[in-house]
């Protein structure tokens, strides 16, 4: 790293130059992408409010949709269970992988690369492919939904946990090393307490995320509230579909609130 500049002017000029280069690259990427998919920024943004109006006009739950409340609530409960269980299982394995894969705590750099790319693989196999792989073998059931969510969550949590651990101040770990603590002790007594609150919020977020993804997975596996949504949606019962969205939103907001609350309590 070059640390000596002739004058502050030169230093700031270089800073600015770097900033400009980054900005220009970003703008170039944006412009190129726009051209490739023929996207029109301004006309599109102008129409955003109109879309929102349409959404509320069509999807507001009506009197009729209340009659669907029973099955919706039951499926929502099932979906919540699958979302929670897949997240918890995934976070258990994700934590192990993250500790083994984080730069600061990895026992071997090769393992780190393997884990990172393994996680990337899990995240990036598209849902359609997951559903093909899993549906053909595990059939249409809650279990298939569980597996699909589990694998995708594992991919994300491994990465998120890894980075949380990497962001940790290395000096604090050094203090434990200096005490003569071994690897696992450093992890359990140093790393985990420091990151517990962040990890918890991640876990709660992934539950929320899986609840929403369940709409996608549900369509594929024919289970849960996602399937129900698809069913109402496809049969043009938009009010019922809207009711499902509303209920999911309420649940998601509740989860988010409790997440903040819990994080504050354990911080």
């Amino acid at each position: 790293m070059k640390t000596n500049y002739r004058s502050p002017q030169q230093f700031f000029r270089q800073r600015q130059l770097r900033l400009w280069v980054v900005l220009i690259i970003l703008i170039a990427i944006y412009w190129l992408s726009m051209a490739i998919v023929s996207f029109q920024t301004i006309p599109s943004i102008v129409k955003v409010p109109a879309g929102l109006v349409w959404l509320f006009k069509n999807f507001v739950p009506t009197q009729r949709s209340i009659s669907y409340l029973g099955p919706i609530l039951y499926q929502l409960w099932r979906t919540l269970l699958v979302a929670v269980s897949s997240t918890i299982c995934a976070s258990f394995f994700g934590l192990i992988f993250a500790i083994l894969g984080a730069k600061t705590t990895t026992p071997s750099p090769i393992l780190r690369v393997v884990i990172r790319f393994g996680a990337s693989l899990l995240r990036n196999i598209p849902v359609v492919a997951w559903s093909m792989i899993l549906l053909f073998s595990f059939k249409q059931s809650d279990f298939t939904g569980f597996l699909a969510l589990f694998f995708m969550t594992l991919g994300y949590l491994t990465r998120a946990f890894t980075e949380t651990i990497e962001d940790l101040d290395g000096e604090k770990l050094q203090a434990l090393q200096a005490v003569g603590a071994n690897y696992f002790q450093c992890v359990f007594c140093g790393v985990l307490p420091e990151v517990a609150s962040t990890l918890t919020s991640w876990v709660l977020y992934m539950i929320e995320n899986n609840l929403r993804d369940a709409t996608l997975v549900g369509i594929l596996t024919g289970t849960g509230v996602g399937f129900l949504f698809d069913h109402y949606f496809k049969s043009f019962r938009y009010d019922a579909a809207g009711l499902i969205v509303l209920l999911i939103a309420i649940l998601v907001i509740l989860l988010e609130l409790s997440s903040t609350q819990i994080r504050r309590a354990i911080a």
Binding site: S38, Q40, P71, L135, F136, K139, Q140, L220, G222, D230, H231, F233, K234, S235, F236
Partner: protein, 329 residues
């Protein structure tokens, strides 16, 4: 391919925004009828362009609701859809009107239908006999497989048949586990639904004829006969590779009306409507080798032509009365 087709279509579109109103958007949903035959689609685009003198933009979507909303809202002017989809679109906006559908082999509308089946495995077939005839009386409590709930022949028609037979009022009963059926599966496609049955995940499955023809052959009876037995072909590709030789029997067969070409009368000028309708129902159009697979040829095209007489033929909303009834509006 269709990818480049879209690109050029939109480019001229953004350069001269005036032309935008004049451009005609055609939307396809890859339903049971419209497959990814990009060659056919390009030919279609050319012939519409020739007929109207306007730029044509082709849009494909994988989502059923998007296609229907697009044509109903007038953002797309022309669409090719299944019968059920048409009814839905027409229900949202009366501006959506059919103008052409595939004729029967005689070139008329009389038998302009294809078949939807309810099938069971051959080894269980006897259980579904009512006297010496097959019936669906015994399917209650079984495991059922549909195609998807937006499918006409793989969902709408079979459920209508079951509703009629068992006098069920609430359609939702037929789609939920443990209500009418012990379990309800969705194959995602006609092939998928058939596979559910062949593998034994479902006891009863609904699907149509056209989509299964490459994989099944009638070993007893024919495609048009109730109670026929079908066998998986020896050279069937995935996902049927492991299922060679397995047999299924159709215990119910319902005619399904051919899906229409529709336009939105609000967003397409009268003049263009006539021009396109005329072009589509013309004899030359039917002999376009890119759009119709000619009799005897194996090449997969948008439409199959069994005889020289088969072509697109003019239809109106009235002809779809039976499907209107099935849907309920």
């Amino acid at each position: 391919g269709c990818a480049s087709g879209t690109a050029t279509g939109t480019k001229s579109d953004s350069s001269a925004s005036k032309d935008k109103d004049k451009a005609i958007t055609v939307v396809f949903y890859p339903n049971e009828s419209a497959k990814s035959f990009s060659g056919s689609r390009d030919a279609l685009k050319k012939s519409i362009e020739k007929a109207t003198g306007k730029t044509v933009k082709l849009q494909t979507t994988t989502d059923y609701n998007v296609a229907i909303q697009a044509i109903a809202s007038g953002k797309a002017q022309v669409a090719y859809m299944g019968a059920n989809g048409y009814i839905q679109a027409n229900h949202i906006s009366k501006d959506v009107q059919p103008f052409a559908a595939q004729s029967d082999a005689e070139g008329s509308l009389k038998k302009a239908t294809y078949n939807s089946y309810i099938m069971v495995q051959q080894k269980d077939a006897d259980k579904y006999k009512d006297g010496d005839k097959y019936s669906i009386k015994n399917i209650k409590g079984k495991k059922m497989s549909y195609v998807s709930n937006s499918s006409t022949s793989g969902f709408l028609v079979p459920t209508a048949e079951i509703k009629r037979e068992f006098n069920v009022k609430d359609e939702d009963k037929l789609t939920q586990n443990g209500q009418f059926f012990s379990k309800v599966l969705y194959g995602g496609s006609h092939q998928g639904s058939a596979v559910n049955l062949l593998k034994g995940d479902a006891d009863v499955a609904a699907f149509d004829d056209g989509d299964l023809m490459p994989y099944l052959k009638p070993s007893e009876g024919s495609w048009d006969k109730l109670g026929s037995t079908f066998e998986v072909k020896d050279d069937a590709e995935a996902p049927f590779t492991d299922l060679k030789g397995k047999k299924v029997v159709n215990i119910a067969m319902m005619p399904v009306q051919q899906g229409p070409w529709v336009y939105n009368t609000k967003s397409l000028s009268k003049d263009d409507q006539e021009k396109i309708a005329k072009e589509f129902t013309s004899k030359e159009f039917a002999s376009n080798k890119e759009i119709f697979s000619q009799p005897g040829s194996k090449a997969a095209k948008l439409f199959q032509r069994k005889t020289d007489k088969q072509q697109l033929i003019k239809v109106t909303d009235k002809w779809y009365e039976p499907t209107h009834k099935l849907v309920g509006y």
